[in-house]
């Protein structure tokens, strides 16, 4: 009943917000494409040094991850991004005049990145993370644009977004933006070091870490009070952990070196990247310079301690004996009876952030899917974990995951077989 009332309330709030937006917010600017005369000369855009810098920054922003179809040409778009409101295909970023950015001026690109507006003034869906990209500097945006314009044009039209009403109305975004979007380039904190500011700029801006590592509300918005505090990634159903290394943080106890190792090689003494983060490491962070990785680690080290989680009184019970037996049979060979893993090969489970995250999703799905740590220059032949989806039923997985979550120093709540059943059927994309 409560849930039902909550749902009704949410619908009413959305409708009121929409009505207000319709009434008070200006309609998208009517702008003819011809008027976009470029103030950046074509010569500037052909500067090889600028293009090279843009290539690096595009990797830092992991643009290709969304703007590339599986098996498709890099940056030619086509990947459909699932959101709770419907699917949004990522457009073609190559300079094809009809299907890509061929007719875009830098000013058009800047408005998209900085203001979340399309070339015709239409409001862009925030699955394109302009909530973060707005912090990118004009110079960096120019370099990225020069790089994208230097790519061979690929003719590949993007599909239209398939969003549910009322999200299908782009004007409804005016209300969303009023609530959740504040445009503005990153402003350095003069009280902090240059390195810290570089890290903050990368994490909050191009790196758009907060787009996954924070909890979204019912409208898909992020609260400025909870940055990088961890959250379940909608639709993908992985848990992106809290990134504080201080007391109560998701990365509690991680050194600067641990953070750099994970971002550079895909694994550290504290854990390995898997799921969506494995993709981020392989396509983006492993290509970053040591200076930038150090800066990111410096910034993350400064995130504050988190309030102690309330003693989790778990009403979920599980078969501890069965869990222990399964652990001894299937897990201990690699992760050790003491849950400490093997340095550089198999990650520790004791104190592992992805074991102890609040939902249990990561441990459940890792047991089901197994897999390789990402291949990186620093770890070209990673070891792997067997998938257990075909060998263990929901009760077994719940027992062994619950056992791991409550062994050694781990004190996370147990998980239910019904949770396992849900994530067993979550699509991998």
């Amino acid at each position: 009943m409560k849930r039902w009332l909550g749902g009704l309330l949410a619908v009413v709030i959305v409708l009121v917000a929409l009505a207000l937006a319709w009434t008070f917010f200006p309609s998208p600017r009517e702008k003819s494409p011809q008027s976009a005369s470029s103030q950046v000369s074509a010569t500037t855009l052909r500067d090889p040094a600028l293009i090279a810098r843009g290539e690096y920054l595009a990797a830092v922003g992991d643009c290709a991850a969304c703007h590339t179809r599986k098996g498709g040409v890099r940056y030619a778009g086509g990947r459909s991004l699932a959101t709770p409101f419907g699917n949004v295909p990522a457009p073609n970023l190559t300079p094809d005049p009809e299907t890509g950015l061929g007719q875009w001026s830098f000013e058009d690109f800047w408005r998209a990145l900085h203001l979340g507006e399309g070339r015709h003034g239409e409001l862009l869906y925030p699955v394109f993370s302009y909530t973060s990209f707005t912090k990118v500097t004009h110079d960096d945006a120019l370099a990225i644009f020069a790089y994208l314009q230097s790519l061979p044009p690929v003719r590949q039209a993007s599909e239209e977004p398939s969003l549910r009403f009322p999200y299908s109305l782009r004007r409804s975004l005016a209300a969303w933006r009023a609530l959740y979007f504040k445009p503005g380039v990153y402003q350095p904190d003069p009280a902090r070091s240059e390195q810290w500011n570089r890290g903050a700029y990368l994490v909050q801006g191009l790196g758009h870490c907060n787009e996954c590592h924070a909890t979204r509300d019912a409208l898909g918005g992020l609260s400025p009070d909870h940055t990088l505090t961890g959250g379940q990634i909608p639709e993908q159903n992985w848990y992106a952990p809290d990134l504080s290394v201080n007391q109560g943080g998701g990365l509690e106890g991680w050194s600067k070196g641990d953070i750099v190792d994970l971002l550079k090689t895909g694994q550290s003494a504290k854990g390995a990247a898997f799921g969506p983060m494995a993709d981020v490491v392989r396509k983006s962070t492993q290509h970053m310079t040591d200076t930038d990785l150090d800066a990111i680690a410096t910034y993350l080290q400064s995130l504050p301690a988190r309030p102690a989680a309330q003693a989790l009184v778990s009403r979920v019970s599980f078969d501890r004996k069965k869990g222990a037996q399964l652990y001894a049979d299937r897990c201990a060979d690699c992760h050790g009876a003491d849950g400490r893993g093997v340095a550089g090969i198999y990650p520790p489970l004791d104190g592992n952030t992805s074991i102890n995250e609040p939902t249990g999703i990561n441990a459940i799905r890792t047991v089901l899917l197994g897999g390789f740590a990402p291949v990186t220059a620093g770890n070209p032949r990673p070891y792997s974990m067997p998938p257990y989806a075909q060998e263990l039923n929901d009760e077994d997985v719940a027992a062994v995951v619950s056992y791991i979550r409550q062994s050694w120093s781990n004190k996370a709540p147990a998980v239910r077989p019904s949770d396992v059943s849900v994530y067993r059927h979550t699509p991998i994309d």
Binding site: K70, A337, Y346, P374, R381, Y383, S384, P387, Y388
Partner: protein, 260 residues
């Protein structure tokens, strides 16, 4: 008593024997204790630095030597298949040409070089074949299967299996997979997946053409005949046939017009 005699006494008679016995009993014990203290200090499991150890994600389903899963044969044999074929299939799972979520997830973050190394490992394995159960079908169906495998059906433009997959059906180097040792379930599921576009190859996709020319009953027939063949004595893929390096004519010309 002369004190100098004591050592001599100690090494004579029962005393010396007892001392030796004590040593024999205690030496292994001491070694064990020493080993224990070492493993307590460094309790990490010893992990072999081998490709076999690295690919546990693969071998849990496909077998340590890529022999495939016994019984239903859902997880296909990898052992002895040409390395180039195996590497290519891993790339197809990455590129979305083959769709099977557990495989797609497993290979997603691998590099071409590592996939080639993994492919080479399974290609070099020589594991015994095992036979999977075949549903009981009529003699006529078996006959049809034998015909399609050995001679094809020219009236429907269907080439024989052996014309590409080798006379012994163990595949042909460098990239043609063997069909011997595959189960009824696996073969029929794969041919079906070509028709439902969950399995494909880069163009020209010859198997897609064949799969679309087969009747449903033909799929059963081919899968039943292949699944019931006795394991081959020589399991190696045949060496590359220089004359057959060129694509067969039926595949090249009919890329567009596929007869369903």
């Amino acid at each position: 008593m002369n004190w100098f005699v004591l050592p001599y006494l100690a090494w004579s008679g029962w005393a010396s024997r007892a001392a030796i016995a004590l040593l024999v009993v205690c030496a292994p014990l001491a070694t064990t204790l020493a080993a224990d203290s070492v493993s307590t200090a460094d309790s990490q499991p010893q992990v072999p630095d081998t490709i076999q150890q690295r690919v546990k994600a693969c071998t849990t389903c496909h077998g340590v030597h890529g022999e495939g899963s016994a019984g239903d044969g859902v997880f296909p044999r990898l052992a002895g298949k040409p390395a180039a074929y195996l590497a290519q299939q891993l790339a197809y799972f990455q590129d979305g040409l083959r769709k099977y979520a557990p495989m797609e997830y497993t290979v997603r973050q691998l590099s071409p070089a590592y996939m080639e190394e993994i492919a080479a490992y399974f290609s070099a394995q020589e594991a015994p074949y095992h036979q999977s159960p075949v549903p009981s079908v009529s003699t006529a169906v078996m006959e049809r299967g034998k015909q399609l495998v050995e001679r094809g059906d020219s009236t429907r433009g269907i080439p024989s299996c052996v014309s590409c997959h080798g006379e012994r059906l163990t595949g042909v180097e460098p990239a043609m997979p063997g069909l011997a040792g595959l189960s009824y379930d696996y073969v029929s599921a794969q041919i079906g997946s070509w028709r439902t576009h969950t399995r494909a190859a880069k163009s020209p996709d010859c198997m897609a053409i064949v799969a679309n020319r087969l009747r449903d009953s033909d799929i059963t027939a081919v899968a039943a005949w292949l699944g019931s063949l006795p394991p081959p004595t020589d399991m190696h893929a045949q060496p590359a046939d220089v004359e057959k390096q060129v694509l067969p004519g039926w595949c090249v010309v009919s890329d567009a017009g596929v007869t369903p």
